[in-house]
Symmetry: C2
Subunit: 292 residues, 2 copies
């Protein structure tokens, strides 16, 4: 496995790989790799000849007062993990390499970036779209792999790729969870033992919402109220948002449609750590089950 730190070296590798007729899979990450990332990597490995894992804690997607400085970084640890899982290249550029002096171009998706995480993290998705565009242009992957864990990010990037006609496909890989239900996240490393226990309310709330829909509940206010209640029972948890969305525009409605999919998404602070989680529910499964 190659560890590439500069754009110049990456460009050479991309040209050689393309000339050899090999397909490229990209797994963009901020490092501190866990099973969630590895599941992306394995999916990429299955679908592409060569797999690039990018590791870059992107300052542009962090707001003031967020955890840019604290975000866990360990290239040695990540290299070991990525190599074991079969990555061909780690691309780990410096901030200076990605944003040299005078950098002034941004990519922005309107609308769907302003709600959910975008509402409490203004500028976050502008940072995500800009760095992802750069990575796509640098690596020129045939497929890029993203985790369903960041459901809004997936929706935003799919929109960006479609709108700007970017020549690649976006592959979405399911959330990986701990045995007790906690969704894997590099930010879980911030949690105290007590916070770690309390963090189970996220997946618990999602299961409650899911079950209500499967039982036929269609009023989102009622579903959200029930989810809210279970989170409020946890003393260390503070809700940022609970949202129930429809379609690729992530529209929030008073009432769910009779069929289709609903995204249940939430962000909750456990102490200072902001965690997110989500699940996609096939709405008419519930009705079918009642008929069965």
């Amino acid at each position: 496995m190659k560890v590439i730190r500069t754009i110049a070296e990456l460009k050479e590798w991309v040209i050689e790989t393309k000339q050899a007729g090999r397909t490229i899979g990209l797994v963009p990450t901020m490092g501190w790799l866990h099973e969630g990332h590895f599941s992306l990597l394995r999916e990429a490995k299955k679908n592409c000849n060569q797999v690039v894992v990018s590791i870059f804690v992107n300052p542009l997607q962090f707001g003031q007062g967020e955890d840019y400085e604290e975000y866990p970084r360990d290239l040695t640890r990540d290299s070991r993990g990525a190599e074991k899982e079969g990555a061909d290249v780690i691309f780990a550029p410096s901030v200076q390499e990605m944003y040299p002096r005078g950098f002034k171009t941004t990519v922005e998706v309107k609308g769907i970036t302003e709600k959910l995480c975008g509402a409490s993290r203004p500028g976050h998705f502008l940072g995500v779209c800009t760095v992802v565009t750069k990575l796509f242009n640098l690596v020129q992957p045939d497929k890029a792999f993203f985790g369903q864990k960041d459901a809004q990010q997936v929706a935003v990037i799919k929109t960006m790729v479609e709108d700007l006609n970017m020549p690649l496909s976006i592959e979405v890989v399911p959330i990986v969870r701990e045995a007790d239900g906690l969704a894997l996240s590099s930010r879980n490393s911030y949690l105290s033992q007590e916070e770690r226990k309390g963090a189970l309310v996220l997946s618990k709330a999602l299961r409650i919402g899911e079950n209500l829909i499967l039982q036929g509940e269609r009023k989102t206010s009622i579903i959200k109220k029930n989810m809210e209640e279970v989170i409020k029972e946890e003393r260390l948890a503070k809700i940022d948002y609970i949202a129930i969305c429809i379609g690729k525009e992530l529209e929030e409605a008073e009432e769910l449609p009779p069929s289709g999919e609903a995204l249940l998404a939430l962000a909750v602070y456990m102490g200072k750590t902001r965690l997110i989680d989500n699940t996609v529910v096939c709405i008419d499964n519930g009705n079918k089950r009642l008929i069965d």
Copy 2:
């Protein structure tokens, strides 16, 4: 020569062309092709195996009250011209094809887009950057060819390509002028006979500025004053801006540096028609000439 109207058909052509190992040159235009465009096309032909001329009057780069509706369009005429000059493909998509319902992504370069043409055409360069990004992603050219006529556009696109690591090179082709000095532009077709005569003040003013610099003048206020005076002698002309800029950030300074290049750029209304023109002066040529 192929005339392609849909993205689906273009994608097929691009895949075939790439698989055959052929290089692609792109000449992005808004149509109503003239010698200026043809000089781009010939340059592309010299440097690339296959040349795509895109023809798309991009609504996103026109402001309210601008000439989007009136902009001259004639695909039959343009196809004939492009074929004669050796184009391999004309890509002429509809607005619906380029901006389907729900389109919401933009590419923006800050700073250099806010001055000169950007000051009187807010949003113009956001529209340019967005459509050019789409065209680059669709055509995947090795080289794209732009006219020096739109000097600020060239600076903006070079910055965008560099910042976003787009995998192509930008080639700039000199301004083509009529025998009497008027820079070619599709918008010249709007001019009445009298306006056409008056429009000579643009190139005349540039020559005056150029000569002052070559004679050793370094104060931009004096140079601009002299340029302004010649334009004001023309009754039909109304100055939008006269600017003297340094470097790729298009910085305006009180005093020119002793060496390097200066961009003299202006926009002038002739009646309702807004015309632009520019010239690049090698500053120390004048000094050299005095020493010779």
